[in-house]
């Protein structure tokens, strides 16, 4: 596991959960500190699940605190197709928090399906159908 890549991915996950770069970075570092502290925990191939579970729980605790900020407007867009980027962002905002999180984890952070199934406590089939449904809806809205 490339720790630098995973740091960025966990940070991105926290950022889109909390919508605050400083709090997201704090939570990311707290997640990794907890993982580092578990020095008797041997790598059994479930490190990602371990990291995302900690990050998810910490984000949930953090988002309950009353200082949420809006996502800044100057987010980078796709230079090849800025219109698509803006349209997609607007469609993503219409999705539920959990659906958005699923897209981020599976498509952007490339978390394996097996780990996502355990993270959400659902079967592979159910998760696959849900993911395909969200992507289909996104595609239809963007084309229509």
């Amino acid at each position: 596991m490339d720790i630098e890549v995973q740091y960025i991915r966990i940070y991105r996950y926290c950022y889109f959960r909390l919508r605050d770069r400083y709090r997201a970075e704090d939570i990311t570092q707290e997640t990794f500190l907890r993982w580092f502290a578990s020095d008797t925990y041997r790598d059994t191939g479930r490190t990602l699940q371990y990291l995302y579970t900690i990050a998810r729980n910490l984000c949930t605790d953090e988002s309950r605190r009353p200082h949420a900020e809006a996502l800044p407007e100057d987010l980078p867009t796709n230079p090849d197709d800025p219109l698509l980027s803006l349209a997609l962002r607007s469609e993503l905002d219409k999705l539920s928090q959990e659906d958005r999180e699923l897209i981020l984890l599976r498509v952007v952070n490339e978390v394996p399906m097996g780990i996502l199934c355990k993270l959400y406590g659902v079967s592979r089939f159910a998760l696959y159908r849900r993911l395909q449904g969200i992507l289909k809806r996104l595609r239809e809205r963007l084309e229509g």
């Binding site: 720790i3 630098e4 740091y7 960025i8 940070y11 991105r12 950022y15 889109f16 770069r21 997201a24 970075e25 990311t28 570092q29 990794f32 500190l33 993982w35 580092f36 578990s38 020095d39 008797t40 925990y41 041997r42 790598d43 059994t44 479930r46 800044p72 987010l75 980078p76 867009t77 796709n78 090849d80 197709d81 698509l84 980027s85 997609l88 962002r89 993503l92 897209i103 981020l104 498509v107 952007v108 355990k118 992507l135 996104l138 595609r139 963007l142």
Partner: protein, 236 residues
């Protein structure tokens, strides 16, 4: 999923770069437990009875062999199933005393702990058999390798059957079944050298090699199944 949508999604979820990543990763590193440290830590959790029993059995093998010099090898090999019984009993101790759930709740994966404990016990047994083999070969007048095969085969046979039984039969009955198996292997070993002494001739050595290979494969297979079963429990 089409590439255009994937690229657009990547861009839509692009977060501002983290500022403290490099400093944080430079300052903190994960300390992993090394295999030797794991082995030593887990060896401490092996019941004292297993260590003491192994040493007593080792002394028993030497005493029994010294008292029956021409048949020193057979007398010694008749006791090795009891060594295997100790190892199998240790592997199923948590299950037997209903402490499996407590072990599953620990931070250390149960499969790693079990693997380390069995490695510790197995290494001790291998050492004891390694010391016994040259001594018994001198007393019994057989080659060291040949003696090693006669000692290892009943050990591995008992371990393989014992592990299978302890997976299938739970609790004290499982231990009883393993004890009965060890006793049966002991008796068969003793009987074989009286009823069929030709089995121990040098010409029969290829058959012993095959038997050893089968027992080795069977005990390895059973061990892997036991570890997999504990992994499945962990994530159930």
């Amino acid at each position: 999923m089409d590439r255009k949508l994937k690229t657009a999604l990547d861009a839509a979820f692009e977060a501002p770069p983290p500022e403290g990543k490099a400093a944080f990763l430079r300052a903190h590193r994960r300390r992993e437990l090394r295999p030797a440290a794991l082995l030593l830590t887990q060896a401490g959790y092996v019941h004292w009875w297993t260590w003491a029993g192994s040493c007593v059995l080792f002394a028993g093998i030497l005493v029994l062999a010294a008292g029956s010099e021409p048949q020193a090898v057979w007398s010694g090999s008749a006791l090795t199933p009891l060594l295997a019984l100790l190892a199998v009993a240790e592997s199923g101790r948590a299950k037997r005393y209903g402490m499996e759930e407590l072990e599953l709740a620990c931070r250390m994966p149960q499969s790693s702990a079990l693997l380390a404990r069995m490695a510790a016990v197995g290494l001790l047994h291998l050492l004891l058999l390694g010391i016994s083999a040259p001594i018994l070969s001198i007393w019994g007048g057989t080659g060291v390798v040949q003696t090693g095969i006669y000692l290892l085969t009943p050990y591995l046979l008992t371990a393989a059957i014992g592990m299978e039984l302890s997976r299938r039969v739970r609790g004290q009955q499982g231990l009883l079944a393993c004890t009965a198996t060890a006793a049966l292997v002991c008796v068969i070993g003793e009987l074989a050298q009286t009823v069929r002494p030709e089995l121990y001739l040098e010409e029969m050595l290829p058959l012993w090699y095959i038997a050893l290979a089968i027992c080795l494969a069977a005990s390895g297979f059973e061990f892997v199944r036991m570890i997999r079963e504990s992994e499945a429990l962990q994530w159930n």
